[in-house]
């Protein structure tokens, strides 16, 4: 379980997060919603150690994350697909995928893990040796998610996976996320602008506004709260 408690983060004078508290339970999808600049990306980056907190605590499975380096947080089984996907264009697709496996798997295991990923995303399997820069937006998203999965994570942090994708592809990716959470007990924290699709697959939802949690409740009750939706989610 991911446990964020009273977390505050600042960039110089900008207070990006203030007293954020919420939990993400094992095997569930937790949607993190909010307007542009609300602090969603900052939240994920703080969990994965890219950004230093000002105060508060983040722990995962009882292990305190604050103070650990990014590399060591990854080694606890936390995978972060950054905003804008973070596909490394100068590497081939296979190299991108392999990179996520290097820290834990031997040669044999690595092959079988990559085969699983290619099975999940057959589009990628056909062009293993092509540079990642030749991929379309949707394919890049698949590569980014596939790469995050290639380390067999227990917690997956996704930052706007639907960004720039056609509705059909978005739906596919959402379905995949839901399936992964249900079947492999993966914990997912899903940051989304696409509120409807996020709420449709999430069990829990956290709404952030100007760095503060407005509400943290079940996805169903957030979706049912008309006033909340009008005020913060724009539909």
């Amino acid at each position: 379980m991911l446990d964020v408690e009273d977390l505050s983060v600042s960039y110089g004078a900008v207070q990006a997060l203030q007293g954020v508290t919420f939990q993400a339970r094992e095997g569930t999808v937790t949607a993190v919603l909010g307007a542009n600049g609300a602090g969603k990306t900052t939240l994920l980056r703080t969990v994965s150690g890219l950004v230093k907190r000002q105060s508060g605590n983040v722990s995962y499975g009882g292990v305190e994350l604050t103070g650990l380096s990014v590399e060591n947080i990854v080694r606890l089984g936390i995978s972060h697909v950054p905003e804008g996907r973070g596909v490394i264009e100068e590497l081939t697709i296979d190299e991108n995928l392999r990179l996520g496996t290097l820290w834990q798997f031997g040669r044999q295991e690595r092959r079988s893990v990559l085969d699983e990923i290619y099975e999940l995303f057959p589009q990628l399997a056909q062009r293993k040796r092509r540079m990642a820069s030749t991929l379309s937006g949707g394919e890049r998203q698949m590569l980014a998610i596939g790469r995050a999965l290639s380390s067999k994570p227990k917690l997956l942090l996704l930052d706007e996976p639907s960004l720039g994708l056609a509705p059909l592809v978005t739906a596919q990716i959402m379905a995949l996320i839901q399936e992964l959470a249900r079947e492999t007990r993966l914990t997912v924290v899903l940051v989304e602008q696409n509120v409807r699709s996020a709420l449709s697959i999430a069990e829990e939802a956290v709404v952030i506004n100007l760095g503060r949690v407005v509400i943290a409740d079940t996805a169903a009750s957030v979706a049912a709260d008309t006033e909340l939706r009008h005020l913060y989610l724009g539909f």
């Binding site: 960039y11 110089g12 004078a13 230093k52």
Partner: protein, 364 residues
């Protein structure tokens, strides 16, 4: 503007008293300090204010010195013309070399000026009949009016020159151009987006720095009486960088501190080596070691240099006098947090723990 002029007048009067009170050899020293202050002020503007680095400040001094030497040897123009030509030619060379380098982001200016520092002395050696070869070119110092000691007269000229240059640079950094210099240093892309012509701004800063070096070189030639390549090695360029960093990058007052250290350090290090019986090999190399350490230690531990340290001490003293109330602009304890993007760049880091960067950079 008026403030700078007043400051300049006070400084000139101070130097007048000083040179009247000391011996002729010390006049020479004071003059040398003024000369180095000119070169350092230019470099400080380039590096501290504009965020570029030049390893060729010594080479541009050589251009200035040789221009003066050649004109004096081969023509009979008034000294003022020779000196102006020295400034002009070194500035022009700066423009030519700087143009391709400063158009680009990255380390190109540093590399090209490094080549210049290594390569220019060889030109003088190759065309030795024109440039005087090993002996160098003889330079006559100006004849003083009346009974004034020639050495003292020359150091007055150099001091006045230095004060004029520093006043001009102080006004330049306060002007529209100064703001562009800083904007380009802090974030080239943002500066470009806000309508600043980035390449032109960088070339301008580099040309100004090279012109300052040209004047300093011409003055140095006058002081020493000869111009030869031995004086303008790569080492000089790097010493100048060390003096600038030590004085305080971007600070025109800091240029004076750096100049004082540059003038006295070689003597100090030789006497240190002698008094500790370190041997001649160490004696000859101690200055290199010291300046190398200066560059490393200042950047790592005290990037605001001497002048920044003085400002910090001054504010500390003020705040103590004021009953422990922090003076306006005094450092607030740094909270745990993240650097806002776009504010990281600057030689004296904006979040320097000891002193707010504004105070460091805007000193003049």
């Amino acid at each position: 503007m008026l403030r700078h002029l007043l400051l300049g007048a006070v400084a000139a009067f101070g130097f007048y008293i000083l040179t009247s009170a000391i011996s002729s050899f010390n006049d020479f020293r004071v003059g040398e300090i003024a000369v180095y202050a000119i070169a350092l002020a230019g470099l400080s503007l380039l590096t501290g204010t504009n965020g570029q680095i030049s390893l060729g400040q010594g080479a541009f001094m050589a251009v200035g010195a040789y221009t003066l030497g050649v004109l004096m040897t081969h023509t009979h123009l008034p000294l003022v013309v020779d000196v102006l030509a020295a400034i002009g030619l070194s500035g022009a060379l700066g423009l030519v070399v700087g143009m391709p380098a400063t158009r680009l982001k990255g380390p190109y200016l540093a590399g090209m000026t490094l080549i210049l520092a290594l390569g220019l002395p060889r030109i003088a050696d190759k065309y030795s009949t024109f440039f005087g070869g090993d002996q160098g070119l003889t330079v006559n110092s100006p004849t003083p009016p009346g009974t004034i000691d020639p050495q003292r007269w020359l150091s007055w000229i150099e001091i006045v020159g230095a004060i004029v240059v520093l006043i001009l640079l102080a006004n330049l950094t306060r002007s529209r151009f100064g703001r562009s210099f800083r904007a380009v240093r802090d974030d080239e892309i943002a500066a470009g987006l806000s309508g600043i012509h980035v390449a032109r701004t960088k070339v301008l800063a580099f040309t100004v720095a090279a012109s300052c070096a040209g004047l300093a070189g011409a003055f140095l030639g006058l002081s020493v009486g000869v111009v030869n390549t031995g004086e303008f090695s790569l080492t000089l360029s790097i010493y100048l960088l060390a003096g600038m960093v030590l004085g305080g990058a971007g600070s025109l007052v800091g240029a004076w501190w750096g100049a004082i250290v540059l003038v006295f350090m070689p003597g100090w290090s030789t006497s240190i080596a002698n008094s500790f019986n370190l041997g001649s090999a160490v004696g000859a190399n101690l200055a290199l070691v010291v300046f190398g350490l200066v560059l490393i230690v200042v950047i790592m531990a005290a990037p605001m240099g001497i002048q920044g340290g003085i400002g910090w001490l001054g504010r500390r003293a003020l705040s103590l006098v004021g009953g422990g109330v922090p003076a306006p602009g005094a450092p607030t304890p740094r909270q745990e947090g993240n650097e806002p993007v776009g504010s990281i760049p600057s030689i004296p880091p904006p979040a320097a723990p000891a002193a707010p960067a504004r105070n460091i950079r805007e000193q003049s």
